[in-house]
């Protein structure tokens, strides 16, 4: 089954892009392809100057290491790790030496320093997502992929989380690819891509 058809898309460094569309339109698939989580059956994907097509799963993973950050709708914190350890994980995987200090720093930035020793189950939804954002930014990634980051949060918490995300994004000059069906949220991005039935609608077309 073909999910995406004839998608041509270029995202410049430092740009913030929102991918919007109905459920099942193919937003998440597109995100997965862009991040190299999945392989396209046809066509090419370039990430940060490297062609992902032709790389195996490990090759694509190596491209992501230290360069790509993720924020997910369902947070995806590891339940057996504390907030602090969850943030440290990407640094440890990248073999960074001062992981402890850097994780502390980012936790401070997202306002969760006092809860660093808490396990995910002891945190509220908003706090979990803040840990996830800290984890995404801790490696100073060049690109951040966010998949419905406010989907599991109430409106007010969601708004605060997005403020935090955009603030960090601006401070670090990260490229942001945001998948959402929330148009208000999408409008905060430089560019909105509209996807419908696996096809990218022409730019700027009203939704």
């Amino acid at each position: 089954m073909t999910i995406l058809h004839q998608v041509t898309l270029e995202i410049a460094g430092g740009e913030t892009v929102a991918i919007v569309g109905q459920s099942g339109a193919g937003k998440s698939t597109l995100l997965a392809l862009l991040a190299g989580l999945d392989e396209a059956s046809e066509g090419e994907v370039w990430l940060d100057g490297v062609a992902l097509s032709g790389l195996d799963e490990d090759g694509r993973a190596a491209q992501r290491a230290g360069r790509v950050g993720f924020v997910f709708q369902s947070f995806h914190l590891i339940p057996s790790l504390t907030a602090h350890e969850n943030v440290m994980l990407p640094l440890e995987l990248a073999g960074v030496a001062d992981a402890v200090a850097r994780a502390d720093e980012v936790l401070e930035q997202v306002g969760l320093a006092p809860r660093r020793r808490h396990y995910p189950r002891q945190l509220s939804g908003g706090e979990k997502q803040r840990v996830a954002i800290a984890r995404a930014f801790v490696t100073h990634p060049r690109i951040l992929f966010a998949d419905e980051p406010t989907g599991n949060l109430d409106t007010r918490t969601g708004a605060r989380i997005m403020d935090l995300l955009f603030a960090l994004n601006k401070a670090l000059g990260t490229t942001l690819v945001l998948v959402t069906h929330d148009l208000a949220l999408a409008s905060r991005c430089d560019r909105i891509m509209n996807i419908e039935d696996g096809r990218l609608l022409p730019q700027g077309q009203p939704i």
Partner: protein
């Protein structure tokens, strides 16, 4: 070494978060059980061996009717073996004018090498163990000798040219049970007095014995070298050939213990496999996430390996430690029953813990961990993505390999290995199939029942495969517990029953044909049942299939030795009690049935004999031929006259034979011995009481050890239950939250869970009882060679116990899950 560090880090964090509890506990219980069994068994085996060696007062005895050559003594010295010399012969002692026959035992100061002499200072005084032997000029006498001579200690006796003072009453002589005691009581004297007695002269019938003891390896070397020089005057006795009865008993004891250890190992493996599955399942998301962040497959793989190795090390050490402490406690607790301090376990027993932990984890926990590397990073976006399919080849291959390795290493007995493996495999297979059928059936039964029932039964049906896995897990646990509670006692008491209280304790040999009727008359006169007299001739095998044995080469040294000596031959019309024909057939009595021979199985294999072979015997110059028509298995511990070779009647002339028999003499029937000695002085009596005592000792110790070891196996069974309950805990947490959100009361959800587990328990109990019945029957008949029978209580206990145990443990394990407010769980789902 990033992966090494990250492997340890993950492990440490999982440990702290409690993720490893069940897995580690399963391994530790298994390893504790194994190492406690191994260490304890090793210690018991060492005592049993040592105690059994008491029968010889040595590990190996070299006997000769001529003085032993210095060559043999040098050989023993070379191998650094302990040595003692005993020279024995029959003579008469005198006190004044009265005299009586005695068995003289001249010993050196090293005697005995195994066991201890027990002596008393006076007649009827309490006896105590001693390390000494009589000094020159002194003698120690059995109480009945003193009684017969009418003296006590301090009295003087004449032996040949010697004048000796009796200084002690000999209460217990370790190797007494081994000697052919003529009715004469024993007199122990110092070796240095032997020559002065002037009783050792050419032509006197004297037995020169060299007692040897030492390490197994040195003994084996010495034995081999002595065998090479063995002349017809030399005989060698060690535990194996001296007392097949004891060998049989110790072998069975080891089998019982080995079985318990094997079963604990198997149960632990099941628990470990289940726990590892859950551990891996809980790490699917974490691994997907790590891959998102750039972790490679090989990193995940190496992490898995590091985790397994580290776990094996920790659990192996912890398990060994617990096992050691437990068996120390057992040894202390059992010390009264074992009578004496247990020796240290053999060194090799220490390796079991760590090695077994490694095998257990590699075989049963590694596959799911290794498969984690194949988790797709896409899982972070699509939670519903199925986990990677574990390669069956990898799972079953590794598990089977490590299992076989471990079992073979532990059992060291191919028959046991095959049987236990067969039972286990069949159990898993049958339990799986039956479980599947029952799950389907239960799924259909839920219509028209209350909500809790419907929910519980629906759960079993819906979880299909999981339910079957749980039923197999529970079923195996229950099966083993049943096998060990109900069947163990049954097997043990049956084993003891093979040696009933009235087992024959005296052998009578050398009864001449003309004395048969007088012997029978005398024996029955004391209220004994009419004993069966077996004819006996001494014969040497001189030819096999017309080839003179002198020209034959044997691979088996023992085989060669068998042929150098005369053997006992008997003949019988019907198969003797305790004998079973393994191949060929026993003869029907007919005119032409003469000329056949039935050979004991092991003896046949040592000589390379098979059905149809023709044996030529030399009976004091007369040649007799017979064809092998059957191979027999002999229960050596039956305490009846047993023979390697039995001829068909008519092959040998009856008039050439003397007769042997055995009988049980109660304490008040021992006067028969004196009566016989008067009427039939030619008949020799062999007192077996000491050996019977040894064997009963072996049985007592073995059953004791089995009792304790069994507790571990039960623990391992409980571990399986816990692991099986834990396996679905996460899923249950979510479901019960959903149900409660939809308006189900806590009680309804709880009842649903109880129903589910109770029904699972019932089904497993049913299957477990079936499995235990079959297994106990097979074990009894095929391995332990006991009677098998069906036990109804097994079923009742299985079904009731299963329902209660599994229902209760399921309830306890999931209660906290259900008690949690649903909102927490549902929110927690987005962790």
């Amino acid at each position: 070494m990033n992966w090494l560090a990250s492997g340890f880090r993950t492990l440490r964090r999982d440990w702290r978060a409690g993720e490893l509890n069940v897995l580690m506990l399963a391994v530790i219980v298994g390893i504790s059980a194994l190492s406690a069994v191994a260490l304890f068994t090793s210690r018991i085996a060492v005592t049993v061996q040592q105690q059994a060696a008491e029968v010889l007062a040595a590990d190996l005895v070299v006997s000769s009717s001529r003085p032993l050559s210095t060559e043999i003594i040098d050989l023993a010295t070379e191998q650094k073996l302990l040595q003692a010399r005993v020279t024995s012969f029959a003579s008469a002692v005198f006190v004044g004018e009265s005299s009586t026959l005695v068995a003289v035992k001249a010993v050196d100061e090293k005697y005995p090498l195994r066991g201890k002499l027990r002596v008393a200072d006076r007649l009827f005084a309490p006896a105590y163990p001693t390390d000494q032997v009589p000094l020159p000029g002194q003698a120690w006498a059995e109480a009945r000798l003193l009684a017969r001579l009418g003296i006590d200690t301090g009295g003087r006796v004449r032996l040949g040219a010697l004048e000796l003072t009796v200084t002690r009453v000999a209460d217990y002589i370790p190797d007494q049970g081994f000697q052919f005691v003529d009715l004469a009581p024993t007199l122990i004297i110092n070796m240095q007095d032997l020559e002065a007695s002037e009783l050792v002269r050419p032509g006197s019938r004297i037995s020169y014995n060299l007692l040897l003891a030492g390490s197994t390896a040195s003994l084996a070397r010495a034995r081999e070298q002595i065998v090479d020089r063995e002349s017809e005057f030399l005989t060698l006795r060690d535990l194996d050939n001296a007392r097949p009865e004891i060998r049989d008993a110790t072998r069975r004891a080891r089998q019982f213990l080995g079985l318990a250890a094997l079963v604990s190992a198997f149960l632990s493996a099941v628990a470990v496999a289940m726990a590892a599955r859950r551990y891996a399942a809980r790490h699917l998301d974490a691994v997907a996430l790590m891959k998102c962040m750039g972790a490679s497959q090989s990193l995940v793989l190496r992490q898995g390996l590091v985790q397994i190795l580290a776990l094996a090390l920790v659990t192996g050490l912890a398990g060994s430690l617990v096992g050691y402490l437990v068996q120390e406690a057992l040894a202390w607790w059992a010390h009264d029953l074992i009578q004496g301090v247990l020796p240290a376990p053999a060194l090799s027993a220490w390796t079991i813990g760590p090695v077994a932990a490694l095998i257990l984890l590699t075989g049963f926990a590694l596959p799911p961990l290794l498969e984690l590397r194949r988790v797709s990073p896409m899982r972070v976006l699509r939670r519903d993505l199925p986990p990677p399919q574990i390669s069956r080849f990898l799972v079953y291959g590794l598990a089977a390999l490590s299992y076989l390795l471990a079992v073979f290493w532990l059992a060291g007995d191919l028959r046991m290995l095959l049987l236990v493996t067969g039972i286990n495999l069949a159990a898993v297979l049958v339990l799986g199939l039956a479980g599947w059928a029952l799950v389907l059936l239960v799924g259909r039964m839920r219509r028209g029942m209350g909500l809790a029932w419907r929910y519980g039964l629906a759960n079993i049906a819906r979880r299909g495969t999981e339910s079957v896995v749980q039923i197999v897990g529970f079923g195996l646990g229950l099966m083993v517990m049943l096998l060990l509670t109900v069947t163990r006692d049954d097997l043990m008491s049956q084993w003891r029953a093979t040696l009933p209280d009235d087992a024959p304790n005296h052998f009578f040999i050398n009864i001449q044909p003309a004395e048969k009727s007088l012997f029978l008359e005398t024996v029955t006169g004391y209220g004994l049942p009419v004993p069966e007299l077996s004819p006996l001739v001494r014969a040497r095998i001189v030819a096999i299939n017309e080839t003179p044995v002198a020209d034959m080469e044997f691979d088996d040294k023992r085989g060669q030795r068998w042929l150098q000596r005369e053997r006992n031959l008997t003949w019988a019309a019907s198969l003797q009690e305790g004998n079973d024909v393994l191949s060929g057939s026993w003869w029907e009595l007919q005119a032409n049935s003469a000329g056949q021979v039935s050979v004991e199985n092991e003896f046949a294999s040592e000589l390379g004999l098979k059905l149809g072979d023709k044996l030529g015997f030399d009976l004091s110059g007369e040649r007799v031929d017979a064809t092998v028509t059957s191979l027999r298995k002999v229960r050596w511990d039956s305490f009846r006259p047993n023979f390697f070779m039995v001829l068909s009647p008519g092959t040998v002339d009856d008039s050439l034979a003397s007769y042997v028999t055995s009988a049980h003499l109660a304490a008040d029937q021992r006067a028969l011995l004196l009566d016989l000695a008067r009427k039939l002085p030619g008949v020799t009596v062999f007192d077996m009481d000491a050996i019977l005592g040894q064997i009963r000792g072996v049985m007592d110790k073995a059953s004791l050890a089995v009792q304790y070891v069994f507790m571990f196996t039960v623990l391992a069974g409980v571990m399986v239950l816990v692991a099986a309950v834990q396996a679905t805990r996460d899923e249950r947490r979510y479901e019960s939250a959903m149900l409660r959100t939809l308006g189900a009361s806590r009680r309804t959800v709880l009842m649903g869970v109880v129903t589910e587990f109770a029904v699972l328990g019932l089904l497993s109990g049913l299957l477990g009882a079936a499995g235990a019945s079959v297994a106990s029957y097979l074990l009894a008949t095929r391995v332990f060679e006991l009677q098998g029978h069906w036990d109804g209580s097994l079923w009742l206990l299985g079904i009731l116990g299963g329902t209660l145990l599994v229902g209760l443990s399921g309830l306890l394990a999931t209660r906290s899950v259900i008690s949690q407010p649903p909102v927490l769980t549902l929110r927690g789902d987005g962790v």
